[in-house]
């Protein structure tokens, strides 16, 4: 890919000359898939609602009429917010994963490589320990998740290896491990009958208690975080060829990397704050996407987002319907994601997706 000349002509024209999103058949197909999956999911749940009632309620709601009753409550207060959350979470983690993998030129990178999840986890368990309201737990998770990334980046810089990817990843591992240790400490001092179960559930990830308010906060945040990734998709593509190539093509490597880290951190931290820690999605989905459209980030990004969103909706539907109780979603993504990942690895030719020709 990196031998292919980048088609935008002028050095400052990476942004302006191409449409924000080119709707290819793959993208269109995946968008339709996501829509279908979401509609089916809206009809499935432990509280039985006839498909006709789902449609009727949604039509009435779109028409602006007030919908009442239990069906409306289940649909609009519980199920649809949850599907929306699954879309946000899947899209955000996959986008961040794709961005980081391209940025770090490493297929093993996931959205929490810089310690976002562990940091958010630490904030959240502290919130649970002190018995804060759920909103505060979410806010605390978001803040500590972001702080953790700032800490990692600062640490990497202060080691006088400015912008060195290896230093960033190592700092992320170190700080992430520290946060994990701090989480363990909190678990030890937590009340084993009251707080420990809550902490455990949070760390396993769940969308069970998503409320419409959560969506109202998270969806815009994720959208805002996605914008720079879309605008910079060419530069990120170029960056995935290596710093020297990118510089030769006139990309400000350091600036681009900073913006991508900030954007990916923002979207990851905001979804982790409401969903808890959900692994594997951000690692696995970009690989699946690469299988479809190849490694170019401008193509990879929309496809990753759509696959991630649809995948998450499916997984969350399983989580809320497969058993009487909620299955922690992080457990499911690990099971499904791990399996898929092995399948991806065994495919012939999957290596070539990363080979720089």
């Amino acid at each position: 890919m990196c031998r292919t000349p980048i088609s935008t002509g002028s050095s400052k024209g990476f942004v302006a000359e191409v449409p924000i999103l080119r709707v290819t058949p793959v993208v269109a197909g995946l968008a339709i898939l996501l829509l279908v999956v979401a509609v089916i999911a809206a009809g499935i749940g432990p509280y039985r609602i006839a498909p006709g009632d789902v449609v009727a309620a949604i039509v009435a709601w779109i028409a602006g009429g007030h919908v009442d009753g239990q069906i409306a409550a289940v649909l609009f207060q519980v199920r649809l917010p949850r599907i929306a959350a699954a879309i946000c979470v899947g899209a955000a983690l996959s986008a961040a994963g794709a961005a980081y993998q391209s940025l770090f030129r490493n297929p093993l990178v996931s959205p929490d490589i810089l310690g976002v999840s562990q940091g958010a986890g630490f904030g959240a368990v502290i919130g649970i320990l002190f018995g804060l309201p759920v909103v505060m737990i979410e806010a605390l998770g978001f803040v500590t998740g972001s702080l953790m990334v700032i800490l990692v980046v600062t640490l990497a810089w202060s080691l006088r290896q400015r912008g060195d990817i290896l230093m960033l990843v190592l700092s992320g591992i170190v700080v992430g491990a520290l946060a994990a240790a701090a989480i363990s400490l909190v678990k030890i001092v937590a009340d084993p009958y009251a707080q420990l179960p809550m902490i455990t559930y949070w760390l396993l990830g769940s969308l069970a208690s998503i409320r419409p308010d959560d969506i109202a906060v998270v969806a815009p945040t994720v959208a805002v975080g996605m914008i720079p990734l879309f605008l910079l998709r060419w530069r990120i593509s170029v960056l995935s060829c290596g710093d020297d190539d990118a510089r030769a093509l006139g990309v400000d490597v350091r600036r681009t990397r900073q913006i991508v880290i900030v954007a990916a951190t923002l979207i990851t931290a905001s979804v982790v704050a409401i969903s808890g820690i959900i692994g594997w999605v951000g690692l696995m989905v970009p690989h699946l996407a690469r299988l479809l459209v190849g490694p170019r980030f401008d193509r990879l990004l929309p496809v990753s987002i759509l696959i991630g969103a649809a995948f998450m909706v499916v997984v969350d539907t399983i989580a809320r319907t497969a058993a009487t109780i909620e299955i922690p979603i992080g457990v499911l993504t690990a099971l499904v994601g791990g399996g898929l990942f092995v399948w991806l690895m065994t495919r012939r030719g999957s290596r070539s997706l990363w080979r720089r020709e």
């Binding site: 509280y47 039985r48 239990q70 409550a73 009340d191 009958y193 809550m198 069970a208 109780i325 909620e326």
Partner: protein
Amino acid sequence: MIGPARRLVVLLALTLLIFAVCAPVVHARTVTDSVGRRVEVPDTITRVFAAGPPAGIFLYVVAPEKMIGWGRAPRDIDKPFLQPMVRDLPELGRLTGRGDTISAERLMAAKPDLIIDLGSVNETYRSIADRIQAQTGIPYVLIDGRFENTPAAIRLLAQILGVSARGEELAKASEAIFAEVDRVVATVPEASRPRIYLARGNDGFETGSRGSINTEIIERVGAVNVVEGIREAGGLARVSPEHVIGWAPDTIITIDPAVRDLIMSRPEWQPVPAVRNKRVFLLPNQPFGTIDLPPSLNRLIGLPLLLHALYPAQATSDLKTELRDFYRLFYQVDVQDADLDRLLEGLRR
């Protein structure tokens, strides 16, 4: 003249004699715990370490003067409901096998005469008891903590601690509570018994499924726990609002005022029949939770409280007096009238 050899023999004999005279001072007796382990304990036990919060509450109730610390220190708001002598005892941690928060060394430094644990009595806990006893040399007794076993557990613990009279009084009182529950429940036809959801966690969506120790009290008062577990019953679970709406419980119970406020105010709870009919009961959690948290002897007072909330027509006893008496007898504190009213506030509809 006696030779050096003979002198040595005399010295040895004297030493042995001294030991023989002194040894009976540390009298020992053998007790049998709930899993049939025969444990040698000192005649007089003055310092007891409770391995976890459930055991801690039993120990506090049966013999507070023998406590050397808490598994979890009481919160400030709980302290007025505890005897002064135990309020400020240190938090020592818990012994659970894995994930202990007290080390063997610190445990020995605390110099307990006895370790008690109360709860499940399976092979895991038996081996933990054996191991810690062998390692520290401190006698360790394991007591069956099933709710039904409460009177027997009290008697056993009181007998081991040498306070049988108090144990008998408490055991009789708990038998009376169970008997009153059975009497009232028998008068309520199956069809009119409530279907209950227990709201735990700080958003109310954590609960115990049917058969779990955390919700034992629901079944004990003849009600139905709406949460059915996956095949093997028991344990805590997280559920979604959709589940709760689907189960349509007619009664919700919680011990957390914040959770009750959430339930009464948030839209996702409004379709639940219990919320529409304002049957969301807040049970007291001072000094200990009356439903679980931890599941221990504190649940005894949860029974009459639930009985009055669920079957107001059939439960005839005077709840306020009953609550006052329970706190006086079991926790050995006199609760002021205003505080009693506050504890009972959440049971009003």
